[in-house]
Amino acid sequence: MSETRILNRAALGELIAALTAAGQRVLAPVEDDGRVEFREVTDADRLALDYVQTVTSAKAVVFPRFERMLRFAMRGKDVTVEEVPPASPPTVLLGAHPCDAASFATLRAVFTWDSGDAYCEPKLAALTVVGLSCARGDDFCFCTSVGGGPADARGCDILLSALDEKTYRAEILTERGRALVDLAPGAFQPGAGAKPRPVAAILPRFAAAELTEKLPELFGDASVWRQQSLRCLGCGSCAYVCPTCTCFDIQDERSRYDAMRVRTWDACGFGHFTLHASGHNPRGKQSERWRQRVMHKFAYQPARLQVLGCVGCGRCSRSCPVDMNLGEHLERLAATAAGSE
């Protein structure tokens, strides 16, 4: 059973100050040049909590777009290898919507599958998520089709839901959430408040579990994938704004005397992603790469990791230069699959 508290909007500054004073890095949605993004904040002045969706996800908090892993110092033939300690300061993600909160379960599943990941895991361990129920959504949101929802608490240590213009109810869901409240006891008032305001109405468009079951049948239907992917430009925009895409590259960068091994984001939509040194490419067509993207998220990850590779945040579709609209595509696939029985 969770405890509840009341958090006044006016106390957000106090909360952020207290967390900062306690050594926590606070990341929250902030408006910058007309775009809302998660940024480090030290006060409540720039908070943009009434946002629908940030352009990029919160993924970078635990899986940055590039990360130095190893440092090689080279003196002639002598090489010393140094681990670059992962930057994992205690971090509070404040005001992330339930889709972003849910994404960490997928990231954790990937990065801890059988073997650990010395770079991602410490960041996950240092993270406290203060979620915020969605007052508004848009046509690209489809969280309710993939097991989430605008007030879904999964992945949150605390979930905020607006009671009115000035107040949130704070549900304290985990020990970590409780510890956060203890860092800023003054910001939280006792009580549960009245009924929270209604959250965004995100109508389910398909059932992810059914889609997962049916997708293997659709794998061989080349026309389905070709039709959708013909306009795909093969850029990495969808993958890079996605909260659950984890494909990465590892490369070395060297200067005269030393070098770094860096991990960077990569994308299954890139033509050279699977290209062999021989020139052979197991997924040589864009339709095959698009299919991989869908299958990986909605069939392979559920089968292998027991998680969906999608939280229905809709960012991929908002950012796509050619309007690929994943939700619409999945809805159609689900209908195709159902009809093909």
Binding site: M69, L70, F72, M74, K77, D78, V79, V81, E83, V110, F111, W113, D114, S115, G116, D117, A118, Y119, P216, F219, G220, T246, C247, F248, D249, I250, Q251, D252, R254, D258, A259, R261, D266, C268, F273, T274, L275, H276, A277, S278, H280, P282, R283, E288, Q292, M295, H296, A299, Y300, A303, R304
Partner: protein
């Protein structure tokens, strides 16, 4: 297999390996013998035939190859690679005594314990002999556990045959039947082996399928043309093993490259039976 390398908690830290011996095998193909710099690593390290690793030149990157030496030979590992890209070019530049990185072993294994008492038929083409060499030597080192061992190996030209000294050794052994072949036109004046493509030589050799395991590694076209011959000889798909070499970066199921359908080559492979591959899309 959950072997992890490096200092135990960060799998991306490679073992430091000393290049102990460099052998030129064929044009741009080299074999390295690698010894652990830290004896404690050597002590801890264990692998089985079929597994692979990530080999790195510090400052140039990592490249994925199988371990080409058998686990029965302790204290070192060997890898054979063709110089193609940035990492393999840098690797080929290493001299004896140089330090490179290795992390692994990763992936599944040839189930050689289950092959005890059976005949083994190894069929390889070109640069695909290295993954097979590991298991060939593994079985030869445990020779009394297996029935007849036949090896069919072909390359484009005589120069392209790798492990020439070992081919001579295998050919001289009474307990191994070896067929070496080169593509028509690839022979030299003093070539003693056969001339013809691997599937043709297989057809001529016509090994019996009963109680036999076939292990096939080679370029896709060779595999494609070899399968019907094996079928005609009576081999069932679950009697035939191969290894896949999809591109990888992490080796441990995270980087997203090596999927063949739902299968991760790095974790579920690289060793597969043809029966398993028949159920997968051709994304390799």
């Amino acid at each position: 297999m959950s072997h992890e390398c490096g200092n135990g908690h960060n799998l991306y830290v490679p073992y430091r390996m000393r290049v102990a011996k460099v052998t030129a095998e064929a044009p741009s193909v080299v074999t390295f013998r690698l010894e652990f710099v830290d004896p404690a690593d050597a002590e801890r390290f264990d692998f089985r035939a079929g597994q692979f690793g990530e080999y790195s030149v510090y400052g140039e990157g990592e490249s994925t190859f199988c371990i080409a030496s058998p686990p029965t030979r302790k204290g070192y590992i060997e890898c054979t690679f063709r110089q193609v890209g940035r990492v393999t070019t840098a690797l080929a530049d290493r001299d004896e005594g140089d330090i490179i990185g290795f992390r692994g072993p990763y992936g599944n294994v040839f189930p050689i314990e289950q092959w005890r008492g059976k005949k083994l038929l190894f069929i390889a083409g070109g640069i695909a002999l290295p993954p097979m060499r590991c298991v060939i030597w593994n079985c030869l080192d445990l020779r009394d556990q297996y029935d007849d061992i036949t090896i069919i190996y072909g390359a484009r030209t005589v120069a392209d045959l790798v492990y020439k000294h070992e081919l001579a050794e295998w050919g001289a052994r009474p307990d191994v039947t070896l067929y070496t072949t080169v593509d028509p036109g690839g022979q030299t004046a003093d070539w003693q082996g056969r001339v013809g493509f691997v599937p043709t030589v297989l057809e001529q050799a016509a090994p019996a399928a009963a109680n036999t395991i076939a292990i096939v590694c080679g370029p896709p076209i060779m595999i494609k043309l070899t399968m019907p011959v094996l079928a005609r000889l009576g081999f069932e798909p679950d009697q035939i093993f191969t290894t896949l070499e999809n591109r990888m970066k992490c080796g441990v199921g995270k980087c997203g490259r090596c999927n063949v359908g739902p299968v991760y080559v790095c974790k579920d492979g690289p060793v597969f039976t043809m029966a398993q591959l028949a159920g997968l899309p051709a994304e390799y």
